[in-house]
């Protein structure tokens, strides 16, 4: 059922009740009507509070603080910063859950839910915009393909002139997992194997030029 369905049902009941009101009697019906009236009181209260907080964006702020993004990116430090920057107040709580409650109360009191939402959304967005790897990444990926296309002797010669740090950078950027204990020989084997695989798996085995 959606809220429109509920609204039409209530209207229909209201209309019927209004028409028949003078003919209704008896304890059973009266008791049931009493229960409905008290449920309606509670519902009306909830509805009013929801509409008011929706208008003031308090609901959205609460939802944002409960959201998956918040679970991943919200820290107490960020919340404190938000509080300082949005309404120049310091949060006292040191526990995240309590700080969230305090923050909502503070923003609601200052009427700055809108600004709080904007601040947090921007902070979360910044946290999400992970480093792409940039120019270096593209270069090291091209290098990886080139290494994969070399003959064994060419590869051995090429690799002998590289430091282990260089090899590690090529491996890291190209998704090869290794540990601090992985020695040069093992790393060379890994780079060779996966670079060859990447080279023959590429569409038409083309080496991307330096255009990108």
């Amino acid at each position: 059922m959606n809220y429109s369905d509920l609204a039409s049902r209530l209207s229909q009941i209201g209309e019927r009740l209004a028409k028949q009101a003078n003919r209704l009697e008896g304890e059973i019906l009266g008791r049931s009507a009493g229960k409905l009236a008290s449920h309606l009181d509670r519902f009306e209260e909830q509805l009013e509070s929801h509409l008011a907080s929706r208008k003031s964006r308090e609901v959205f702020l609460e939802n944002l603080l409960r959201s998956p993004t918040s679970k991943k990116h919200l820290t107490i430090a960020l919340l404190k910063k938000a509080s300082r920057e949005v309404c120049a107040k310091r949060l006292k709580s040191e526990d995240l859950a309590a700080a969230k409650r305090e923050f909502i109360k503070l923003m609601h009191g200052a009427g700055k839910q809108d600004l709080a939402v904007e601040f947090l959304k921007e902070a979360f967005a910044t946290a999400v915009r992970v480093e792409s790897g940039g120019k270096d990444k593209a270069l090291l990926q091209r290098e990886f393909i080139r290494l994969g296309q070399l003959l064994d002797e060419e590869f051995a010669k090429e690799i002998s002139s590289r430091s282990i740090a260089e090899l590690r950078r090529v491996a890291t950027v190209n998704g090869i997992r290794f540990t601090d204990k992985t020695d040069r020989q093992r790393l060379t084997t890994l780079v060779r194997r996966y670079a060859q695989r990447a080279a023959f798996n590429l569409p038409a085995a083309r080496v991307p030029s330096s255009r990108t």
Binding site: S67, A125, R129, A138, L202, P208
Partner: protein, 298 residues
């Protein structure tokens, strides 16, 4: 904000098209306050069954009447029986019995869509391409995003979606079979664009805008290497002009998450079913990048 029409395509099945559409759609509504329409074009009706209980779905789409099937059937029969408002499902019903996410709308699919492919060739090619656009184009304007969930093929229904779209989004699983299929897909889209060109005056031609990786597992080398091979492949395809320079791999990759699978049985997007799960977190981050990309904030 102007409407963005995005076709989620991949002719490989099981790559997470529906999961991506449903969960990005729901996250756009819940966290970004956007108004979203999901158009289910797959006869398997997975997006519809994800967001609707099966009994409600069966009743709603009985004989295909209130479903996307009607749009195609009307085109074939030369009739005008599709009623947008009647077909539209507004919000998702939660365990309270009431709807949530009221700004998430769905045009459900029906299995009758299976019959369409056999008959659609009775129409002229240009008429086929324009079916969705001519029926829904005006309705699209009331939404921020229109997400077209396509079947796992590149037949006529998918072509109509690509024709209507501003961009295509390609969900992808990190393995070689997907990689090899991706090149073919990118080439097919170029071919389609050429065919569509005479019928798309003054419009931006649809192209691949983003790739999204799902079913990702962090353990070992396997998936990291496969994603790297995808990036290498994208670079090579950009070089040859098969892929536009603007096409990107949207991060983060969606990690495998049992709560997402479970949410299908609850007929809820993961952000409502398990907002604390890694699935919901990944979709929330991905949706932020999605907004950055398609609203020009990257």
């Amino acid at each position: 904000m102007s409407s963005k029409v995005l076709a989620f395509i991949n002719f490989k099945g099981g790559v997470g098209k529906t999961a991506t559409v449903v969960n990005i759609g729901a996250t756009l509504v819940a966290l970004h306050e956007r108004k979203v329409l999901i158009v289910d074009l797959d006869p398997q009706s997975n997006a519809s069954l994800w967001l609707m209980r099966p009994d409600r779905w069966r009743e709603h789409v009985a004989r295909g009447r209130r479903s996307t099937f009607q749009i195609f059937d009307d085109a074939l029969q030369g009739k005008n029986r599709f009623d947008f408002d009647e077909t539209l499902v507004r919000g998702v019903v939660t365990w309270t019995g009431f709807t949530d996410l009221p700004r998430l709308h769905l045009l459900p699919a029906a299995v009758e869509l299976l019959r369409i492919e056999d008959r659609i060739h009775e129409l002229r090619a240009s008429a086929i391409y324009q079916i969705l656009d001519s029926t829904l184009g005006t309705q699209f304007k009331q939404y921020d995003y229109i997400l077209l969930d396509c079947p796992p093929n590149l037949y006529s229904t998918t072509k109509t979606a690509i024709f209507s779209a501003d961009n295509c989004v390609v969900p992808y699983v990190p393995d070689y079979l997907s990689l090899s299929g991706f090149q073919v897909l990118a080439e097919q889209i170029i071919e389609m664009r050429e065919k569509f060109a005479p019928y798309l005056p003054g419009r931006r031609k649809p192209n691949i805008g983003a790739l999204i990786v799902s079913h990702y597992r962090q353990s070992g080398n396997v998936f990291r290497l496969a994603v790297n091979e995808l990036e290498l492949s994208m670079a090579a395809l950009r070089e040859t002009g098969v892929l536009p320079d603007s096409a990107i791999l949207l991060q983060p990759c969606i990690r495998h998450c049992v709560r997402v699978a479970e949410s299908t049985s609850e007929h809820l997007p993961v952000i409502l079913y398990a907002p604390g799960s890694i699935g919901a977190q990944d979709y929330a981050d991905l949706t932020q990048r999605f907004v950055d990309l398609f609203e020009g904030k990257k």
